[in-house]
Amino acid sequence: MSCPDRNPANRLLSDFHPGQRGVIARVHPHEDARGALTAEELERRLLELGFVEGASVEVLHEGAFGRDPMAIRLDDMRVALRRREASAIEIVSEAAA
């Protein structure tokens, strides 16, 4: 794995389907998620939009093509995000939650 210190029980938001929900365990971009940005920059942007540890998320909708992007309920607001960036967001495992 590109990110050895990841809690293996945590799931990535990018693997979620509509209707699934959870609580953010960690915002931690790995190499594949960052795209044109540095990992640090993507992390800050996600944080600024409200993707922060402890926030609750629910996948509401997904695009028709390649199931991308995703529409996500983030606490009390709605946000659109591509799956690539969503892979930087780890969701608390159900066992832990």
């Binding site: 940005l37 509401l60 028709a64 992007p69 946000v79 659109a80 995000l81 591509r82």
Partner: protein
């Protein structure tokens, strides 16, 4: 005289996107607004003036929406620099008004904490407070105010509620509170997390969640973001928009054309025959008319864009289109500028401002003129009418209509390919992320929409005057001078600079099947694409192409051009940069001649190659 005693105050509006900040700005300043650009960047600078009850002049500046002072786009750089008082050529604001959507406080509280570090006095305006009350959201205003260290005013911008109080608070702060030291710095990820938990704590302590939260947005989204229904509805909206652009605009366009025709006739009556009349009638009035005729279409495009933005639908359209646009290396938001370009590339290029990232925006601007604008339609109609037989193919398809459709499709497909190539070859960086808030739906406010529409239309008119007019005069000069010699047998344009250039470039255009008449028509046709039709009329000396001359021109073309030549000319018009107005606007929007130059040459090269391939394929088919 109190007004003389009180120094004018400067107030800056800062806030997250979609908080009704612009509506608040409109409520504060009414019609006393000015839209311009910041020096050196193409970020809209909206300023307005109001006079407080005490007689003080208050200058209000509406800064671009942002989630953070840590600027990530040119818009946000302006906001940051304005707030920090570092914006070149601008005086720092005396008071900052932090505008918040009262129903969505979490992110703006974090922004308010950042503003606090800047050390300038600020007021928190809780906008859309009526919606918050309707939802049963309870906010402890006193506690919240104490916690963030700033006065709070509740406002309903669309109904002008709380505006007087906001003005009074801002004025009071300007008088009593001196700015303290600025301790703001770019927050690190750890500091952002800390600020979030701080905002969360404040929110928990002073805001009780709504008893009746908005459920409409979720229900509407279930339909509008549905993978199938959502795309169908988007297509339906676009269909209506297209209908509107072409059908509703037609009477107004006819009116504008008639007006400039009448004006030209009137001026011709009162000026002596000669150079001055030709300059005014053909150069100025004709040239400006040929661009202003698109004003109704541009107004309709912007009306749709503004309504879609105001309701919150625009973010959904970007969501639905993101993957398709992304395949070509474009951002979901590029969709609307490209759609607008089907009316006219000028509003398309201007609308590309909705894209934050520089490279995404430049790519969109560069391919915008490949979309089939309405100025190409007269050219396409003329050539198709003259060259393509009116025939039914495959049982039900009209061949002429099919060719027209093919031309539209070529524009779109080639635009996407060019975007893909630009992304792969020039900016090899991976694409920027697509992350944005999907705002709650709300009814558009007619007054706001109309005011913003007027501003957009005015910007276009202003540009038509400042950039397009001189270029039109240049085209006129080229087509008029020098005069034909005594006893000339050819039309006058043949002896002009345009004629000389046409003849000079003719050998270059011969391989793509263009005759010298076509080569000459391309020169005045630089003014705007549809001018080429009139220019062909001039070269073939058939007179008024809109009246009887049109049919005459069509039959001359049918008789004198081979099918291969006609098809080559169509291919040329799909790609060629035959529009100085677009190049002028691109120069304005990209702040220099680099990108319009790149655009000119790449489109010229594509046009030449496409015409070459078309011509020789057609010749090989025996259509030469």
């Amino acid at each position: 005289m109190t007004a003389a005693v009180l120094a004018p105050a400067r107030v800056a509006l800062v806030g997250n996107p979609n908080t009704g900040k612009t509506a608040l700005f409109n409520a504060l300043t009414g019609a006393r607004q000015k839209v311009a650009n910041y020096a050196g960047v193409t970020v809209e600078r909206k300023t307005g003036v109001l006079t407080s009850p005490s007689g003080r002049i208050i200058n209000v500046i509406d800064l671009p929406g942002t989630y953070s002072l840590r600027a990530r786009s040119p818009d946000e750089v302006v906001t940051r620099d304005a707030v920090l008082g570092q914006l070149e050529g601008e005086t720092p604001p005396d008071v900052i008004v932090c505008v918040a959507d009262a129903t969505n406080l979490r992110l703006v509280l974090r922004l308010a904490l950042e503003l606090k570090q800047v050390g300038r006095p600020f007021v928190l305006a809780l906008n859309m407070y009526d919606i918050a009350q309707r939802q049963g959201l309870r906010i402890d205003l006193e506690g919240l105010s104490r916690e963030i260290g700033a006065p709070i005013v509740t406002t309903v911008a669309t109904r002008k509620r709380g505006i007087a109080e906001l003005v009074a608070q801002a004025e009071g702060l300007a008088d009593t509170i001196a700015p303290t030291e600025n301790v703001w710095h770019e927050p690190s990820a750890a500091e952002l997390r800390h600020a979030h938990s701080e905002a969360q704590r404040i929110l928990k302590a002073y805001v009780r969640p709504p008893e009746r939260p908005d459920t409409w947005t979720g229900r509407i989204d279930a339909l509008l973001l549905h993978p199938v229904a959502g795309l169908l509805i988007l297509s339906a909206i676009l269909f209506v928009m297209f209908q509107a652009v072409f059908a509703w605009a037609a009477p107004a366009m006819d009116g504008i054309e008639a007006f400039f025709g009448w004006l030209g006739g009137l001026v011709a009556l009162v000026t002596p025959d000669g150079l001055l009349r030709s300059l005014i009638v053909d150069g100025l009035i004709g040239g400006v008319g040929s661009v202003l005729v698109f004003l109704p279409q541009i107004a309709i495009v912007f009306l749709f864009i503004l309504i879609l933005e105001d309701t919150g639908y625009m973010a959904r359209a970007a969501f639905l289109m993101d993957r398709l646009m992304g395949a070509a290396g474009l951002h979901g938001r590029a969709f609307i500028p490209l759609l607008s370009s089907h009316a006219c590339a000028i509003p398309g290029v201007m609308a590309a401002r909705v894209i934050d990232q520089k490279h995404d925006r430049l790519t969109t601007i560069l391919i915008a003129p490949l979309m089939t604008c309405s100025a190409r339609i007269p050219v396409y109609t003329l050539i198709i009418g003259a060259m393509i037989p009116e025939r039914t193919v495959a049982g039900f398809l009209n061949l002429q209509g099919l060719v027209m459709f093919g031309l539209y499709a070529s524009g779109i497909v080639s635009g996407l390919i060019v975007a893909f190539v630009i992304r792969k070859v020039f900016w090899r960086s991976a694409s920027e992320p697509f992350m944005m808030e999907l705002p709650t739906y709300k009814l558009p406010d007619a007054q706001n929409v109309l005011r913003n529409l007027w501003q957009k239309v005015w910007v276009f008119i202003e540009r038509a005057g400042r950039i397009i007019l001189p270029l039109m005069v240049l085209v006129w000069v080229l087509s008029t001078f020098p005069y034909p010699p005594e006893g000339a047998t050819q039309p006058a344009i043949d002896y002009s600079f345009a004629g000389m250039i046409g003849h000079a470039i003719q050998p270059l255009l011969a391989p793509i099947g263009f005759n010298w008449q076509m080569s000459i028509a391309l020169i005045p046709g630089m003014a705007a694409r549809e001018v080429a039709v009139a220019a062909l009329g001039t070269v073939y000396a058939v007179g008024d192409v809109e009246g009887a001359g049109g049919a005459a021109l069509s039959s001359i073309i049918a008789a004198q051009w081979s099918l291969a030549t006609g098809l080559s000319f169509l291919a040329w018009y799909v790609f060629a940069p035959q529009c100085v107005a677009t190049l002028g606007v691109v120069k304005r929007e990209t702040n220099g001649w680099l990108w319009p130059t790149v655009m000119f040459f790449y489109m010229f090269a594509l046009a030449y190659l496409a015409s070459l391939a078309t011509y020789w394929s057609a010749v090989a088919m025996g259509w030469g």
